[in-house]
């Protein structure tokens, strides 16, 4: 499935809904959304990952980039991620830097 990332902002919460495979080829599109989201100076970034089937190390780098971009004060939520994506995040220890949830609880 082709990668897609759509951004919606409501109040202080920026939500990016991810679809498909987040690999090196898709990472620039994801980063563009992160930049856009950061522009709104949200207090929280929520990544809806239910339909994200895969994330490579380049995709993970985008998440690390998001954390840098948003600053430590902005919490990043990764919601409803599939097992392979969770595995990639856990393996590298990045799960300690984000909030992983099965369903979004604000």
């Amino acid at each position: 499935m082709p990668f897609d990332a759509t951004l919606s902002t409501e109040g202080q919460v920026a939500t990016i809904t991810l679809t498909g495979e987040l690999d090196a080829a898709a990472a620039p599109a994801f980063r563009a959304r992160i930049e856009e989201a950061a522009g709104a100076s949200p207090e929280r970034l929520v990544l809806m990952a239910e339909r994200l089937s895969y994330m490579s190390s380049a995709g993970l780098r985008s998440l690390v980039f998001a954390k840098q971009k948003m600053g430590q004060a902005v919490d990043i939520y990764i919601v409803a991620a599939q097992d392979p994506v969770i595995e990639t995040i856990r393996l590298t220890g990045f799960d300690h830097s984000v909030i992983m949830q099965e369903a979004y609880v604000g």
Partner: protein
């Protein structure tokens, strides 16, 4: 008259009378259009265009652009000869009456030749640029190869082999193997810098150097106090029984120094670039097979036992350079005679076939669990399995593998 190709004549109403006939007589398949209509026409690009010189140079450029660009063009007028001047000064040839077929033919053909020459030279300029980029990448690749070990240490009773196949000219993967603690230990590293291309390759060079240099320094454990870990025990993970050992084993200092030092350097200096590496750094005592390791967020290497069972070596810390202020622990395992440690990067399980399906860990493990004869043989087997799986699919990720085998009793 022979057919010289299609020609579009664009003119104002009532102008250039006789031009269409003359061009036809010169050998062209002529279609006519009015200047007012040509931008609305959706006809394909002709081989050449003759434009009424009454149009402005900008209009002329617009018409050529509309027709697909880079077309041979002449302007012509049977009105005021001064009309052709702005076109001439823009480098476009012009014809004035009488419109004699042989003359028109010569002028149209010379305009075509000019386009052939100029577009041809553009292509060769692009080709030269492409060749230059490829040459630079080849230089990058050659330099990067210099960051890989030329030979692998082969301590008595051991068999070490590696495979490295970058998906592009330059890679983010690397492997390394070298003696530590004056030859009393052998260290080996398999690592994957996130992302691809030149950026990943530059960080590969940096991280490899930091790790190698950290591993080969003689360090005390004193710096660990600074890392906030004074318990003296947390550095050692694994079985509770093995954790009882109160004193660090030989080489634990350089091992931790290499990984934690590289990570700290990365987060102190390069955090904003967002690069990190997953890394497995193992250190064996060639005499008894004891293995100490740090797994920084890397795909768990597997120890394949002589009986075909498997022990995975999960992370003992996060990816190197990803997060500031992190701790790495040391994991412990042992390679008995006939055991083989297989380390790899995610390019192996994440190799895709033409339909986009992943090779996956299950296929990889199935290949590991068959009897192992030699390290190279095991890597060949996995390589062949990967080849058979991906078939014609373009490799997307770097693939790196290393096998460290402790020879069975009796083999040397």
């Amino acid at each position: 008259m022979e057919e010289l190709g299609s020609l579009l004549l664009v003119r104002e109403p009532g102008a250039l009378t006789g031009m269409a006939d003359a061009l036809t007589a010169a050998g062209y398949a002529v279609t006519s259009s009015l200047l007012a209509d040509v931008l609305a026409d959706r006809a394909g690009a002709p081989d050449a265009v003759v434009l009424d010189a009454v149009c402005t140079p900008a209009q002329r450029a617009g018409v050529i652009e509309h027709l697909g660009g880079a077309l041979p063009v002449l302007v012509a007028t049977d009105g005021d000869p001064a009309l052709v001047e702005p076109h001439l000064s823009a480098g476009v040839d012009a014809v004035l009456p009488p419109f004699l077929p042989p003359l028109l033919r010569a002028r149209v053909e010379s305009a075509r030749e000019l386009v052939r020459l100029t577009t041809g030279s553009t292509t060769s300029a692009q080709a030269a640029e492409q060749a230059r980029i490829e040459k630079e990448l080849q230089i990058g690749r050659d330099i990067q190869e210099g960051f890989l070990p030329r030979t692998l240490p082969q301590p008595a009773g051991w068999d070490i082999a590696a495979r490295f196949r970058p998906a592009r000219e330059v890679a983010g993967d690397f492997y390394d193997a070298f003696e530590m603690v004056n030859g009393r230990r052998v260290g080996f590293v398999v690592a994957d810098v996130c992302d691809k291309g030149v950026g990943a390759a530059l960080f590969m060079a940096l991280i490899r150097t930091l790790v190698r240099s950290g591993a080969q320094q003689n360090v005390s454990m004193g710096w660990m106090d600074e890392a906030g870990d004074r318990s003296g025990r947390d550095w050692l993970s694994g079985e509770a029984s093995t954790r009882k050992r109160a004193l660090p084993s030989i080489g634990t200092g350089p091992l931790l120094n290499a990984v934690a030092g590289a990570s700290k350097y990365m987060t102190d200096n390069h955090l904003e670039q967002g690069y990190f590496a997953t890394m497995f750094f193992g250190m064996i005592d060639p005499k008894d097979g004891a293995l100490l390791y740090v797994n920084g967020g890397h795909n768990p290497p597997a120890i394949v036992r002589g009986d075909g069972t498997r022990q995975d070596l999960p992370p003992t810390g996060p990816a190197v350079g990803m997060l500031p202020g992190v701790q790495f622990r040391i994991g412990e395992a042992k390679l008995e005679r006939g055991d083989t440690l297989f380390a790899y990067t995610d390019g192996v399980p994440e190799a895709k076939d033409e339909d986009g399906r992943f090779f996956g860990e299950a296929r990889m493990y199935a290949l590991l669990e068959q009897p192992v004869e030699t390290s190279a043989g095991l890597l060949d087997r996995v390589d062949a399995g990967l080849h058979a799986f991906v078939r014609g699919a373009v490799p997307f990720d770097d693939i790196t593998m290393m096998a460290v085998r402790r020879l069975p009793a009796g083999e040397t």
